[in-house]
């Protein structure tokens, strides 16, 4: 199987700001080694980091699965946090429920989800209150 996809799995710990972004950094390094187009790498890194940090800030951490094929990078981030009551509203630039403690760290501009939308080719968010949120990101790799 010459075109076998590369699959990666990460666990993201809750409230772990020290290691937040590690999964995104790791995927970025892998994509660099694979020689993927730099713009794709940048787009994926921005989108994935925003989703990863959201799991740390707004949920209780979670898991990330990455699937890299020659055509695209597909990332699924799942958490069992509080869920998002109104996804459309959450997608709006500037909307944030971040508390003062994380705003002090530089988060809470309400630009994370808009960034994910902007830098990905496909974004799907499914969420259920009290159950959790799944964010699915796709970045295409031009041939």
């Amino acid at each position: 199987m010459e075109n076998a996809n590369l699959k990666l799995h990460y666990n993201v710990d809750k409230k772990d700001f020290i290691n937040a972004g590690e999964a995104s950094s790791s995927v970025k390094k892998v994509l660099r080694k694979l020689g993927v187009n730099p713009e794709c790498i940048r787009n994926l890194a921005i989108a994935m980091y925003e989703a990863e940090i959201n799991m740390v800030i707004h949920a209780n951490g979670g898991t990330i699965d990455v699937d890299i094929s020659p055509e695209c990078i597909h990332v699924v981030l799942s958490d069992s946090g509080p869920g998002i009551p109104d996804i459309q509203r959450a997608m709006q630039e500037g909307y944030s429920t971040a508390g003062d403690n994380v705003r002090e760290l530089g988060f809470g501009a309400g630009m994370g989800l808009p960034n994910i939308k902007k830098y990905s080719d496909d974004l799907k968010i499914t969420s259920e209150i009290g159950v959790g949120t799944t964010v699915e990101i796709k970045v295409n790799i031009p041939s």
Partner: protein
């Protein structure tokens, strides 16, 4: 202009010497809100900020900025410094405001 040369010209302190001080700086971005920085900072920028926690290192790593310049005499906290050393991110520090530093950098680049 190289990171070490900018540091010298600005009389900025290199808080963690020995990393990528020979990286070329090609641009500059100023910002403290991390999602704005993620989206707008470019590879090889010098990133000017007053944020000094560990998340700065993650954002600097992912955006591939050449170095971080903490202005207004801000010190990085311990986790930030430790992480910066692990990830090879150069942190500079100046007493200048972001504006003052950017004006000088603009004249140097």
């Amino acid at each position: 202009m190289l990171v070490k040369d900018i540091a010298e010209k600005l009389q900025a302190e290199i808080v963690n010497p020995g990393h990528h001080l020979n990286r070329e700086i090609k641009g500059c971005y100023i910002g403290d809100l991390l999602s704005w920085v993620m989206s707008n900072a470019q590879e090889d920028d010098i990133w000017i900020t007053i944020m000094s926690n560990v998340n700065v290192v993650a954002v600097a790593t992912l955006t591939d900025v050449a170095c971080v310049l903490l202005c207004e005499n801000v010190d990085p906290d311990d986790n930030c410094l430790k992480r910066a050393n692990e990830q090879g991110i150069s942190i500079l520090k100046t007493k200048l405001t972001a504006y003052e530093a950017a004006v000088k950098i603009g004249n140097l680049l």
